[in-house]
């Protein structure tokens, strides 16, 4: 390859340096990446092509899905939740979910711990009504450390849990945490 050699002037500490041409595929791919970058920038400059635009589209799609699901599920009401609470099989399922999800803070029997006792007649975030309990579970109370479980659980599951918590009120579990919040004398 004498044509690609520089001769003696390109020798350093015994290392000789040839002057072969650059591989064509290498140069070509480089031009491809540059062309890609050009078109990408031009395209990303268009309206609606940004990261936030894509996010808004995804949020709206989900809102539509939620709306359809809500219509299918019917209203959350005292009576619809109370019906759930009267079905032993449903409450067994709800109890299992309560133990796996809620007991870290409220205790296995609802006696309280990090969070308040659910077996007395005192309520912090609602009036002890099933709809209020449901709202507290669903949306949480971020200022008081109650997470919004509606983000994580299926809406049906949230309803069952609300009904289950409703059945705990007034059972006064042994070793329960001291009351927090205000007393609600009698629950319907």
């Amino acid at each position: 390859m004498s044509s690609t050699s520089h001769g003696d002037d390109h020798v350093y500490d015994g290392i000789r340096e040839l002057d072969n041409p650059m591989p064509t595929w290498w140069v070509a791919l480089w031009f491809v990446t540059i062309a890609f970058s050009y078109f990408y920038v031009v395209h990303m400059g268009e309206d609606g092509s940004g990261v936030l635009d894509a996010y808004k589209v995804a949020v709206n799609e989900q809102a539509a899905r939620d709306a359809a699901a809500a219509l299918a599920l019917g209203d959350v009401s005292e009576s619809s939740l109370a019906v759930l609470g009267k079905d032993p099989a449903t409450m067994t399922q709800a109890r299992a979910k309560f133990v796996s999800t809620c007991s870290v803070c409220h205790g296995e029997r609802g006696e309280g711990g990090i969070g308040p006792n659910l077996t007395d007649r005192y309520w912090k975030n609602c009036e002890g009504d099933l709809v209020g309990i449901h709202r507290t579970i669903d949306l949480g109370v971020p200022t008081r450390g109650m997470p919004a479980w509606g983000k994580q659980l299926d809406p049906i599951e949230v309803r069952k849990l609300a009904a289950y918590v409703g059945t705990l009120a007034g059972t006064n579990a042994e070793g329960g945490k001291a009351p927090e919040g205000h007393e609600v004398a009698v629950r319907k």
Binding site: S37, A70, C105, R135, V141, P142, T143
Partner: protein, 747 residues
């Protein structure tokens, strides 16, 4: 003209020192890595001690691997090859010694301060300000020594290895100085002068280019010297060297923002980072091609020579990771890979494959020459090292790819109703723990290889001569630089016909570059300009254009106690496992809450966005759990969540807050422009009041009494503040319409 030859010797003693340090620190760095790997599989391996917990040791591992192991390897290569390529002994033996001992002292200082929790909390730039200053001083000594050697060289042209050394020395200095700008608030405490988005931008401009100019360009220089030496083959293409050198130096600098895709960084910067990363692919591969094609005619030797085996696999890994880098920088790929172990796989294929194998290839070639033993103690042991190391490395990265893609997909997965399939973060952790075990085994194998190599080199050293022979080198001194005169213009050229053709020829034949290689000063100036111009295009707009960080009126400075809590968060290295940056992806806003805005971070000196979610994001942690949850969780995370792999932080419940430094720290923040107003006068009193308030609330939640002066309270104050400043008003219990939209309640 020059009949007289200079007689001189090369300083190999200093290279022997750097080689020894490379091996010692390599073992230390990898031992630390192995401990960390087991901690992720078995949280008890954190030992319940502050000094041995993951958050404090992980920076020790990264700093030791980059600056101690790779750093000393680079210096070995530079000191050995530069003297020979320049036909001159190092400029000053004293500066060489100062450089060596100064660098080792810095490493020791790092090894002491990091486990003690002294950190600036910026990745690979964690060391506190006095050590930062020492780094700058030692680096300048190195630069003076290096450029001094160039000045007294006896070789007219600079060889390509030296171009890469020049670029590394100049750029690392620039990166270190600008990223480490901090205001001291005590001897081992400081706050970054930049905040939030700008701090993040500077950090990843630095972080990415530390990869470029500490782990790439010096190792390319190493390759350009040691590979043709070991293969005894000529370097493939001079023009390719020129083109890939300059494009690498210019383009690399722009790519930093690809570490911040989907964050609160303005999208234009993120886009620039992405496209320059894509355009960087071929310039990076230029080095790989030039290396592999240099082996033409020597492939037979690769089969038998362990040195070349290490080099071939090293260069191949370089090619793989420099393809993967551009791939990961594409935004949609990054959405999956960011915060996962995919990135850990990527950096380790670079660090173990490229840096580690190039280093050991060099050491196996170099040490018999340095120790004047004519050959390595055992070729077979070196070959065994190669295979054990390669298998270890493959296990490591395959485990981390699997773990990264698995967890990334789980985080993004929705069920058919559009709810997260894995809402409980810990589920995604439990799934990848088997991969943590495979990784630990792979890492242990790689370390075994390194120990075999260390033993081999130790045995080689043992058979050294009693005294090293001083080899006298002879070379003619350089006379004045009489450039070859241009040929007289011909008649045709005078008529203007051939001028254009000759100019094209001058450019394409790289004659201009040949001239630059004779002029190190001019060359260095052009490198500096390439680096600074590219930086300037991104840095200046980020700082100067106000719309990049839209301000949010409800965002207020941290209270003095929250600031103290933030300092504990920083000292414990929480950012090593937890991000504080919710990306605008529905999978993230469903899991964590509203996505993060640039204006939320204006008082965050330094920023704490993190880069890996070993645990969940904390940007919206405030108010999510009661204080008592945090007390119990920090005391032992497994009391709250049996599957958690977080270390215990029980000492936070017993260690006192140092209220005497509150005032100093608030003053420092005020000096950085955080609007504390009159609060700055009563910082300590305010902090104590808030501490006792939180302690009382913990007691009311029936938690332990007497935590008022303890660190846990400061940390809780900070954690409860995270992300609450822009919280949209929450429905009070009395408003029944709050969930109307979602549940279709129509009351």
């Amino acid at each position: 003209m020059e009949s007289r030859l200079d007689r001189f010797t090369y300083d190999d003693a200093i290279v022997r020192k750097f080689v020894t340090a490379t091996i010692v620190w390599g073992v230390v760095a990898m031992l630390a890595g192995l401990l960390l790997a087991t901690q992720l599989a078995v949280p008890q391996m954190n030992l319940g001690l502050p000094f041995t917990s993951f958050g404090r040791l992980r920076p020790l591992h990264t700093n030791a691997a980059i600056f101690a192991f790779a750093g000393n390897a680079i210096f070995s290569a530079v000191y050995y090859s530069s003297q020979r390529l320049l036909k001159a002994r190092m400029f000053s033996d004293r500066l060489s010694a100062f450089h060596f001992w100064g660098w080792q002292a810095i490493i020791v200082a790092a090894a002491v301060t990091l486990p003690l929790g002294f950190t600036q909390a910026k990745e690979y730039a964690e060391l506190e300000w006095p050590i930062d200053i020492a780094i700058a001083v030692v680096w300048i000594a190195f630069a003076v020594n290096f450029f001094g050697t160039i000045a007294k060289r006896r070789e007219r042209h600079l060889y390509v290895a030296l171009w890469f050394y020049i670029a590394s020395i100049v750029t690392v200095a620039v990166l270190h100085v600008f990223n480490s700008m901090a205001l001291p608030a005590g001897w081992l405490k400081s706050y970054s002068v930049y905040a939030g988005v700008q701090d993040a931008f500077m950090q990843w401009w630095y972080g990415h280019n530390a990869v470029a100019f500490f782990l790439t360009t010096p190792f390319l220089g190493l390759m350009y010297y040691f590979l043709p030496k070991a293969a005894e083959r000529p370097v493939y293409s001079y023009k390719l060297s020129i083109l890939h050198f300059w494009s690498l130096v210019f383009i690399y600098i722009w790519a930093g923002p690809h570490h911040l895709h989907y964050t609160a960084l303005p999208e234009w910067a993120s886009t620039l980072g992405m496209i320059f990363s894509v355009m960087l692919w071929m310039p990076s591969w230029g080095g790989m091609i030039n290396g592999l094609l240099t082996l033409r005619g020597a492939w037979g030797k690769v089969a038998t020579d362990p040195v070349l085996k290490f080099f071939v696999v090293g260069i191949t890994f370089y090619g793989m990771s420099t393809f993967e880098g551009p791939l990961l920088s594409i935004k949609s790929v990054n959405a999956l890979a960011h915060y996962t172990d995919w990135i850990i796989a990527h950096v380790h294929s670079g660090a173990l494959g490229w840096n580690g194998f190039m280093t050991f290839g060099m050491l196996y070639w170099l040490t018999p020459r340095l120790f004047q033993t004519s050959k390595l103690w055992s070729q077979r042991l070196a070959a065994a090292h190669f295979w054990v190391g390669t298998v270890g490395m493959l296990l490591y990265i395959v485990a981390m790819y699997t773990s990264g893609v698995t967890q990334g997909l789980m985080w993004l997965a929705f069920d058919k109703t559009g709810r997260l399939s894995y809402p409980d973060f810990v589920e995604t952790v439990v799934r990848i723990i088997p991969m943590y075990w495979v990784r630990a085994v792979g890492g242990a194998l790689y370390l075994t290889g390194v120990l075999m190599g260390s033993f081999n080199i130790f045995m080689t050293w043992r058979s050294r001569p009693k005294t090293y022979e001083e080899i006298i080198v002879e070379a003619a001194p350089l006379g004045p630089d009489n450039l070859p005169k241009r040929a007289e213009p011909t008649a045709l050229e005078k008529a203007g016909v051939h001028v254009f053709g000759r100019k094209i020829d001058y450019f394409t034949e790289a004659n201009w570059h040949r001239l630059w290689e004779r002029k190190p000063f001019k060359f260095t100036v052009w490198v500096t300009i390439a680096v600074l111009v590219a930086s300037g295009f991104e840095v200046l707009p980020t700082f100067l254009i106000r719309s990049n960080v839209p301000s949010i009126a409800s965002v207020k400075p941290y209270t003095p106690l929250e600031l103290m809590g933030r300092d504990i968060y920083i000292a414990e290295g929480c950012y090593n496992c937890h991000s504080q940056m919710v990306r605008p992806l529905r999978a993230e806003t469903e899991r964590y809450g509203e996505y993060s805005k640039a204006g939320e971070f204006v008082y965050d000196h330094p920023f704490q966005w993190g880069s890996r979610r070993i645990g969940p994001d904390l940007a919206r942690l405030g108010g999510k759990y009661p204080h008592l949850w945090h007390v119990r969780h920090m005391e032992n995370p497994r009391d709250i969540n049996p599957q958690s792999i977080m270390p215990t932080y029980a000492w936070l419940l017993s260690d006192d807050i140092d209220f005497s430094v509150v005032q100093q720290r608030v003053d420092a923040m005020a000096m950085l422009g955080v609007p504390y107003g009159d609060a700055v006068l009563t910082a300590e009193k305010t902090a104590r009041e808030q501490a006792s308030l939180i302690a009382r609330e913990i007691e009311e939640q029936r938690g332990p009494a007497g935590l008022g002066g303890k660190q846990i309270v400061a940390l809780i104050a900070y954690m409860q503040r995270l992300g609450v400043d822009i919280r949209t008003p929450v429905a009070e219990p009395s408003s029944p319409t709050a969930n109307a939209n979602k549940q279709g309640a129509s009351k």
